[in-house]
């Protein structure tokens, strides 16, 4: 079981190691850690911390994509939930109330998406597009178009504080991933999701209540987006309806894809998606550390991501496999030859 898991996530692990190595090559202090004001401080912490929103989103997105769906609205839901949380604390509510209200708003958004997809049978990409466009407007209504700032220490701590010297967002996404991972893998839920994604009709005929399952999956995604929204809002101590979570749905989908999950639904791995999120953040970190002119940012990111996806394509994987199979004996022969003549240059 564990070996199978490792084999599943091995490509992602290797890619992550390579991208982190790239960071290290550009900036030798990359893995350096120190304490500043009781807070762990270092680039690697930044990757884990700044990767939190995409990591949170990718947990929900993995499940939705496993059902052969997609959720384009998560970025807008982040803006809504951030605005809700900020409104609650500026109106004098406590951070716990803000957290619950934001989670409630995220759940509502998720149920709305799930209703459109499961009950009205609208294609997921269209159904969630509705909220992607309208959601930011709702968030702007809540903040009246301004950045709604607050000074509530509880809410700030969720996004910018630390627990045991480690930034809170890291705790949040790791906890969420473990909980969701256990729920879907220690019960039959994960299997049911995969079955629905592979063939919804046969899943239903086999006795799965696909409708409820779909709504539940979109609900979980809404909750993940709510947590991500709280994290970014707490981090800057303000709800920025225009920019919170902007285009982040695309990063979340990319994380799932880098994680080797098929957009056609079916088998999924949350761990691999999380590694995908960390890979994206490491690439961002490399771009920032490189000190290259900003015009190159997106070009560099595109090149790295195209390379990652090409390496993962079934064709290329198969060729690599064939190459290794055919060169296996050659390698062995070379090893023998190398033993005989050390230092000699073999073609």
């Amino acid at each position: 079981m564990i070996r199978a898991t490792i084999r599943r996530i091995l490509p992602q692990l290797v890619i992550l190691a390579l991208v982190l190595g790239l960071n290290f090559a550009m900036f030798p202090g990359f893995f350096h850690l120190e304490m500043h004001n009781g807070r762990l401080f270092g680039n690697i912490i930044d990757v884990l911390n700044r990767g939190a929103p995409v990591a949170l989103l990718s947990v929900g997105m993995t499940l939705v994509i496993a059902t052969r769906g997609i959720d384009l609205s998560v970025g807008a839901v982040m803006a809504i939930t951030g605005a809700v949380a900020a409104s609650v604390v500026t109106e004098g509510g406590s951070w716990i109330m803000a957290l619950l209200a934001a989670l409630g708003a995220g759940a509502l958004c998720g149920i709305w998406n799930g209703f459109l997809v499961a009950v009205l049978r609208i294609q997921p990409i269209v159904a969630t597009l509705v909220l992607m466009v309208a959601g930011r407007g709702i968030a702007q209504l809540l903040t009246k178009g301004a950045i709604l700032t607050f000074n509530d220490p509880g809410l700030i701590r969720l996004g910018g504080g630390t627990i045991l010297s480690v930034p809170t967002p890291i705790w949040i996404w790791v906890t969420l991933a473990v909980v969701v991972g256990l729920v879907v893998r220690r019960t039959a839920l994960g299997l049911l999701i995969e079955a629905t994604g592979i063939n919804e009709r046969s899943a239903r005929l086999a006795g799965i209540n696909a409708k409820v399952l779909l709504i539940a999956v979109y609900l979980v995604t809404g909750l993940c987006a709510a947590l991500a929204g709280i994290v970014v809002t707490g981090d800057i101590r303000g709800a920025d309806a225009n920019n919170a979570g902007l285009w982040m749905e695309l990063d979340a989908i990319l994380a799932v894809v880098i994680g080797g999950n098929s957009l056609l639904g079916g088998r999924f791995s949350i761990t691999a998606s999380l590694l995908g999120a960390l890979i994206i953040q490491s690439v961002n970190s490399a771009i920032l550390l490189s000190g290259m002119p900003v015009e190159f940012n997106l070009v560099i990111k595109a090149i790295i991501i195209i390379a990652i996806l090409v390496i993962q394509s079934p064709r290329v994987k198969h060729s690599i496999y064939l190459l290794r199979a055919s060169s296996g004996p050659v390698l062995a022969r070379r090893a023998v030859a190398a033993k005989g003549a050390v230092g000699e240059d073999h073609p």
């Binding site: 930044d46 009246k144 301004a146 970014v232 981090d235 920019n243 900003v294 940012n297």
Partner: protein, 318 residues
């Protein structure tokens, strides 16, 4: 126009001089409310009009040019005395501006210019964004006074004209100060969260921030995000790292008043004031204003009364 003038004259005779423009109606086609500054511009324009006794007809275009063209045609049909236009894009205005000209209605462009023959509009009231960068650069040059200073720069959205201009203005201003060097420059997309994230990486890449002497941010929001990053790195923003930015949003005034930032260059939301003044002169005796009225780029430092500026601005919708 003659009828209008005679009407005006009779009005001027009958009324005290201060309420001269009481009968004027001005249509205002605003882009939308995509940013806090835009919202502030709208509320300042409304307040200005009220103070001068001008009836303002407001149309929010929700970032669409076709809505603006519709609104302008509506204003022409209603026979307004002038039109204020904050154009969402630079091109495609010739026809509708021609219609306004044919109807003898003066059009004043606000805060952005258009690619159209300049006889189609009365004047354009805008800020010089290159100059804003220069003011920021000059401040840093004076503050450092020959001391070596490594600057990190948070740019706006890549490719935006404001980004290009504010970058150029700052670079021009420090060109003759060999002691000031820009060591890192990255985009923070004009947002608080990106400003914070990018500043975090600057701090780590530059010896925990010890090698950074100053930060120049293309807008206040990015600077406000960066201030939090500097604090979390255990440094004092405004002291260990000097900060200068552009916009003068209320939160930045507060930060400067608390000593967490050093200077901000104002992009005034009061574009309507100069516009109305030009219009009133034009209505009165046909005085043609210059084709470009540059608004003032005021510098606010820790010596300015930032609390007063904050109080004045906090309810404008920033």
């Amino acid at each position: 126009m003659n009828i209008l003038k005679s009407l005006l004259l009779s009005a001027a005779v009958l009324m005290p001089a201060s309420a001269f423009a009481a009968n004027e109606t001005v249509g205002f086609s605003q882009i939308g409310s995509e940013s806090g500054w835009r919202a502030a511009e709208t509320s300042v324009t409304k307040a200005d009009a009220k103070e001068r006794g001008i009836t303002l007809k407001f149309a929010d275009a929700q970032q669409k040019q076709e809505n603006q063209i519709k609104a302008i045609r509506g204003f022409i049909a209603q026979g307004v005395d002038a039109i204020l236009l904050a154009p969402v894009v630079a091109t495609g205005w010739d026809e509708v501006l021609g219609e306004a000209k044919d109807a003898d209605i003066p059009v004043v462009l606000m805060d952005r210019k258009v690619d159209a023959p300049d006889d189609l509009y009365l004047t354009a009231v805008t800020s010089d964004t290159v100059h804003e960068g220069e003011v920021a650069g000059d401040w840093l040059k004076k503050a450092e006074d020959g001391k070596p200073c490594n600057v990190v720069e948070l740019q706006g959205t890549t490719g935006a004209s404001v980004t290009i201009d504010r970058k150029k203005g700052f670079a021009d201003a420090i060109a003759d100060a060999p002691n000031i060097k820009i060591i890192r420059s990255q985009t923070g997309d004009f947002t608080r969260s990106q400003g914070k994230i990018v500043m975090e990486s600057f701090l780590k890449a530059e010896n925990g921030g010890k090698d950074i002497c100053a930060l120049y941010a293309h807008n206040d929001d990015m600077a406000l995000g960066a201030i939090q990053a500097i604090k979390e790195a255990g440094l004092k923003p405004g002291e260990d790292i000097k900060i200068v930015s552009v916009d003068s949003v209320p939160d930045m005034h507060l930060a400067i008043a608390h000593g967490q930032s050093n200077a901000t260059v104002e992009l005034t939301p009061d574009m309507a004031g100069p516009a109305f003044t030009a219009l009133e002169a034009y209505w009165k005796d046909g005085t043609m204003p210059p084709k470009w009225i540059q608004t003032k780029s005021t510098l606010y430092t820790q010596d300015s009364d930032n609390m007063a500026a904050y109080e004045r601005k906090k309810d404008l919708g920033y």
